[in-house]
């Protein structure tokens, strides 16, 4: 490839496409199934229920402290599989590239995808690349779909919540959302703010291996933050969720950045955290086990499910009062008033 940027030809299916695949993608993505370059990947049969998910990634900027679009695309889809108790088997990778995108940036992204895939031990077995004319895209959009397997006996769902269930959050909140926000021109802040993008399948596997029947659901609070996800769980289970504000785990830098910009950590995206709704009888042990995992080392209990107005999320404030935590209506924006 002598060009330094993506051309329309790279998406045409001809020699230019093959060069791109061979010299860039296959240089870093090592799955033997992928290298076969067939129209589809044929997978071996394995026991269990099939779990299937898809997600697209359009984050801007492409690279940010703690990660990049490539890592997000791998971790995010692995996590969606894991949240239903699925052991991830493989991923697909589809790219829509904008004509003119730098090949160097594309290669950096693919290297990151490969690293995330290898360290998670989840291969990319099939892929696709298209190119749109300059101005019709935004450098790169990525879609990853994933297939996983879940044991027949496991049946996780947001509808499973019961009064008395304990809500655990696997670590600090708002890290990803505030990092992306503060990379934007006009609202930039300096400091140790970094995305928490991480794969959660090992954490989930560890918990389910030890307590297969004690987890009602796992959910990863991405867009909309912990507030939105808890609202969904409360609604699905027909219960109220009650949180303790003083227990919410927030890094000091994230808290400070939110104070300055007028944002609330409860509504900011997380890309390496999960909520677990669990049986109160084993909550303490599950918490302890979660804290032994890499991804769950900062896990804490943040609240409980209760009888009450269905779909309501309440937070008890340090003054002894309370307020309702409603779901997000749109993208969080900094405010001055």
């Amino acid at each position: 490839m002598s060009d330094k940027t993506i051309l329309l030809d790279h998406g045409s299916g001809g020699l230019a496409s093959q060069e791109l695949i061979g010299e860039l993608f296959l240089k870093h993505l090592t799955s033997p199934i992928l290298k076969g370059l067939e129209d589809s990947a044929v997978l071996d049969n394995r026991p269990g229920k099939l779990v299937f998910t898809t997600d697209s990634y359009v984050v801007d900027p492409l690279f940010f402290p703690g990660g990049d679009i490539g890592k997000l695309a791998v971790h995010g889809t692995i996590n969606d599989l894991a949240m239903r108790g699925g052991e991830p088997v493989c991923l697909s990778l589809a790219l829509i590239l904008e004509e003119g995108m730098s090949l160097e940036e594309l290669e950096r992204i693919i290297i990151s995808v490969a690293e995330a895939s290898e360290s998670s031990a989840v291969p990319i077995v099939t892929g696709d690349t298209k190119v749109v004319p300059r101005g019709k895209g935004d450098k790169v959009f990525i879609n990853t779909s994933g297939i996983g397997l879940v044991d027949e006996s496991i049946s996780l769902s947001s509808r499973n919540g019961r009064p008395g269930d304990v809500v655990i959050l696997s670590g600090t909140m708002g890290d990803h959302g505030i990092t992306i926000m503060t990379r934007r021109a006009g609202i930039a802040l300096d400091g140790d703010l970094r995305s928490d993008t991480a794969a959660l399948h090992r954490l989930v596997a560890a918990i389910l291996a030890a307590y297969p029947q004690d987890v009602r659901t796992f959910r990863d609070p991405t867009r909309g933050g912990v507030a939105s996800t808890l609202n969904e769980i409360a609604a699905a289970s027909g219960l109220t969720i009650s949180l303790e504000e003083e227990l919410l785990p927030i890094r000091a830098e994230v808290r400070a950045a939110c104070e300055i910009l007028g944002l609330e950590p409860l509504y900011l995206a997380n890309e390496g955290k999960c909520l677990a709704v669990v049986d109160p009888a084993s909550a303490a042990e599950i918490l302890h086990l979660m804290k032994q995992t890499e991804a769950g080392r900062d896990a804490v209990v943040i609240g409980r499910l209760e009888e009450g107005k269905a779909g309501r999320v309440l937070i008890n404030t340090p003054i002894g009062g309370s307020r309702v935590v409603t779901p997000l209506h749109g993208e969080p924006l900094p405010r001055i008033c």
Binding site: G186, I319, R323
Partner: protein, 361 residues
């Protein structure tokens, strides 16, 4: 966070809550005139522990809420002029005019940049020399000095492609007008913390002279509850004075340097406030000396006269004459996702706060 965490400490705040109960000996109907106070009162849970006999009414302290529909439409028209890039505080992004918001205009191709500071808008002008950057100015006395300083900086550095559409407003005069409404019936005023940093606690003496208990308070739970305690005690003892329980930020005279900066760039004008109509000398316009930074003069966009949206009770809500649950469209036709009036859109608007935090609280 120093100078914040101490005022959130529950060991300090819980006894204050008990003290508030003790201090309330006569009914208090107080108005707060600061949207950040509205938010803080709900968010901290103070609303949920307010003693029986103490009522809080939200006045017109949310600058986005009191931006007239006419101004909103003019903002949107400006954003749609070819070659213009508008820069805004995030608060303004979803406020509806008569035909959609700046968010809708951005979706149609208008260049709308959310900034944290008006100085970031000046940077946008430097970085986009082919665009005319228009900073949409909203805010009260806390925000105006910074906007004034930005215009002065643009003037000194000779930046040509930057201007401000000023809908800046001032608080004391309109408050005076509000106090004269016979239906208002409040006996206490929770004075804004950061506006007071600029204008000084002394600005409220005329209201104390008229028999209104006045307390300047900050925004953390301990500040708020302490403020309410002092108001309850003033009302209980029948005295009316100005007390300042935010001395770490507010002085009697305020910030003279900031006041002088505002006076250099702006002059008082009559301005329309949503729900209150045209109020004399309630707004600020850019002085003739700095006319080249005045967006209205640069772009000659007419300000349409737009009547208030039908059914919307924002005007009465701002005057404290009714509360959101009494509005016929609250929570039904008017929700945060589909707001009719700015009181619902603004993150600190009375209706948004009620919708987010106040249901059944």
């Amino acid at each position: 966070m120093k100078h914040i965490d101490e005022y959130r400490d529950s060991r300090l705040v819980k006894p204050l809550v008990a003290e508030l109960q003790q201090s309330l000996t006569r009914p208090v109907r107080l108005m707060e005139v600061c949207g950040t106070h509205t938010m803080a009162i709900f968010r901290s849970g103070v609303r949920s522990i307010l003693p029986e006999g103490m009522e809080i009414v939200s006045g017109p302290g949310c600058p986005v809420c009191v931006t007239s529909a006419s101004h909103m439409d003019a903002f949107i028209s400006m954003a749609e002029v070819s070659g213009v890039r508008v820069a805004i505080f995030g608060d303004l992004f979803r406020v509806p005019g008569s035909n959609g918001s700046l968010a809708n205009a951005a979706a149609r191709g208008a260049k709308v940049d959310v900034v944290y500071s008006p100085m970031d808008a000046l940077d946008a002008a430097r970085n986009n020399p082919d665009d005319l950057v228009v900073f949409l100015g909203v805010g009260f006395e806390t925000t105006t000095p910074g906007i004034a300083a930005t215009i002065l900086a643009a003037h000194k550095t000779g930046i040509e492609n930057f201007c401000v559409f000023s809908t800046q407003k001032v608080i004391p005069g309109p408050l005076e007008t509000l106090m004269q409404d016979p239906e208002l019936n409040i006996n206490a005023l929770l004075c804004p913390g950061h506006v007071s940093a600029i204008i000084g606690a002394g600005a409220y003496q005329p209201f104390a002279d008229q028999g209104l208990a006045c307390v300047v308070a900050g925004f953390e739970p301990a500040d708020l509850i302490n403020g309410l305690i002092l108001l309850a005690r003033q009302v209980g003892s029948g005295e009316a004075k100005v007390e300042n329980i935010y001395p770490r930020v507010v002085s009697w005279d305020g910030n003279r340097r900031a006041q002088a900066m505002v006076d250099e760039i702006f002059e008082p004008v009559d301005m329309e406030w949503r729900g209150l109509g045209m109020l004399a000398k309630s707004g600020l316009a850019i002085r003739e000396t700095y006319a080249k930074f005045d967006a209205e003069k640069r772009l000659d966009i007419p300000i349409p006269h737009v009547p208030e949206p039908k059914g919307c009770l924002c005007g009465q809500i701002l005057k404290g004459q009714t509360t959101p649950p009494h509005c016929p469209i609250f929570g039904t036709r008017c929700t945060p996702a589909n707001p009719v009036g700015p009181c619902m859109v603004s993150s600190e608007g009375t209706c948004a706060a009620y919708h987010k935090y106040g249901q059944d609280v």
